[in-house]
């Protein structure tokens, strides 16, 4: 070949250098063969070169290669390079640029769907991990509940996986159609029908359908395992603050002469402390089957804590809803402990007893405090709830009132604080 033709081929190669070899090689072969055939047919070199524009050839190859590559890529990767390459191939034509701008709407939708699909897949991994974590924390004797927990994880993972797959396929479909419209716009802006779809692998479709069916089946299997373990019903009853059908009454009593501090903590059960008729400090606790409560003597103090019995997974999350079971502590008339601490995640707390210092904290339960009956100085605060004093709701989130020798600190994150 002459220097001029070599020059044309070199310009083509330079213009296509960032494209993959599988796109460049056939193009260069085609044009080399084309020129050789044209020379053989008797055309002069000048005539051939005068009718071949390097820029036009490069632009056409680039646009075609980018779309072919984009369509053959899986998932969101097909979106990344396609728009940029197509823009290069468009050569600044206003009509075609507007086509690309219009395509940005379905592209954005597809990207949103891809992100949701990825979120679903991550949620599958999270639910699997959480399930394993919860099962390892559950009591070994609760075999049925552990199977139910596994079923719950399977149910969530199966449904989320199927949802993620559907979202991914929807995003793929939108992307494919958008690319096809772009392709038609780049190459045949006047055509009425899009070119026929690239052949799809039937094996891939079968695999996707099988994956979807397997995921749904796993979800249903999970549900089948969870229902016999009664987990859904337990969650519904806790969430709706329903009183459990089976409660175990537990009680403890202590000599007030030996006890100076009291520390009571619950997850969701309410706490009521008041002055009673007995000469002893008594604690009565209604224990639901998914909770476990115990009062222990430590030095001159008593502490009570309510924890998960290890029979219901994810209890700490569900138990954030206000519970209806209660822990009631009664103290003798005239008994004033040095320090009382009451904490509940979501249970209501009712206080009507004296203490040198009392601290009451609740996340989102109601907090009732009988301050007027005893000489309390009160400091109360809430973050998102309300404070009312003697029935009047204050328009601020803190309250302070000086009082007698007794001190009370009341905190509620989201619940009401009622000082009476």
């Amino acid at each position: 070949m002459s220097e001029k033709i070599d020059g044309l081929m070199a310009s083509l190669r330079a213009g296509l250098q960032d494209l993959p070899e599988e796109a460049v090689r056939p193009a260069l072969d085609y044009w080399a063969e084309y020129i050789a055939e044209a020379l053989e047919a008797g055309r002069s070199e000048e005539e051939i070169l005068s009718r071949l524009s390097t820029e036009e050839i490069v632009a056409a190859i680039r646009a075609e290669a980018s779309l072919v590559r984009a369509e053959s890529r899986p998932g969101p990767l097909r979106l990344t390079g396609a728009g940029r390459s197509v823009l290069r191939g468009l050569g600044g034509t206003a009509g075609r640029a507007s086509l690309l701008a219009a395509a940005s709407v379905p592209y954005t939708l597809a990207i949103g769907l891809y992100l949701c699909a990825v979120g679903s897949f991550l949620a599958v991994a999270a639910s699997a991990g959480l399930t394993v974590y919860e099962i390892t924390r559950m009591s070994a004797s609760s075999a049925w509940e552990r199977i139910g927990a596994a079923g719950l994880g399977l149910f969530a993972a199966g449904l989320l996986g199927a949802l993620g797959l559907l979202l991914w396929l929807a995003a793929n479909a939108i992307t494919r159609v958008t690319l096809r419209v772009l392709r038609r716009g780049v190459h045949r802006s006047d055509a009425k029908e899009p070119p026929p779809a690239a052949p799809r692998s039937p094996g891939r479709w079968k695999a996707r359908r099988a994956a979807f069916i397997v995921l749904l089946a796993l979800g249903l299997l999970g549900l089948g395992l969870t229902i016999p373990a009664r987990l859904p019903w337990s969650y519904v009853s806790i969430w709706n603050s329903m009183r459990p059908a089976a409660l175990t009454e537990r009680s403890w009593s202590f000599d007030p002469a030996e006890i100076r501090t009291l520390d009571l903590q619950t997850l969701s059960s309410g706490i009521t402390v008041r002055v009673g008729s007995s000469d002893l400090i008594t604690l009565r606790y209604e224990e639901p089957r998914w909770m476990s409560g115990a009062a222990l003597r430590r030095g001159d103090g008593v502490s009570f804590s309510e924890t998960s019995s290890g029979r219901l997974p994810y209890l700490e999350w569900v138990a954030r809803h206000e519970g209806v079971t209660t822990l009631v502590m009664e103290v003798p008339e005239g008994y004033v402990p040095r320090e009382v601490t009451l904490r509940s995640g979501s249970g209501p707390i009712e206080v009507a007893m004296p203490a040198e210092t009392i601290r009451v904290e609740t996340e989102n339960g109601r907090l009732g405090f009988a301050a007027s009956r005893y000489a309390y100085g009160v400091r109360a605060m809430t973050r998102n709830g309300t404070i009312s004093v003697s029935g009047t709701v204050l328009d601020r989130t803190t309250y302070e009132a000086a009082g007698g020798p007794l001190e009370a600190e009341l905190r509620s994150v989201d619940g009401k604080v009622e000082i009476r």
Binding site: A27, E33, E37, A41, R51, A60, V68, R183, E193, P195
Partner: protein, 105 residues
């Protein structure tokens, strides 16, 4: 408009026999006035869609690449023919200045 007819035109030419790139380009140029650079992307696209396939034959000490229509390409050509038949009515109507009496002839 001209670019839009390249795909059916190439399929129609190859339906009657295989052809190499330059030969195809010359035959297309004899029918439609179009830049010589326009054909290559069309051939690539038709190949990607499985409508064409290629094979090489030695010629004067080099390889000449021939294009052949696939069964899928033939079906696509038939679809094009049906579409163009539909367009004929529109073309006739446009030529007659919008009087819709084409079908009554």
């Amino acid at each position: 408009m001209k670019k839009g007819v390249l795909e059916p035109l190439v399929l129609a030419i190859l339906k009657d026999g295989d052809a190499y790139g330059y030969e195809l380009s010359e035959r297309v140029a004899g029918i439609v006035d179009i830049a010589e650079t326009a054909l290559y992307p069309v051939l690539r696209r038709l190949q990607e869609q499985g409508l064409l396939e290629t094979y090489s034959v030695e010629h004067n000490g080099r390889l000449r690449k021939y294009y052949r229509i696939t069964p899928r390409g033939r079906r696509r050509w038939q679809e094009y023919v049906k579409e163009l038949e539909g367009l004929e009515r529109v073309i006739a109507l446009v030529k007659r200045g919008g009087k819709d009496d084409v079908g009554e002839d």
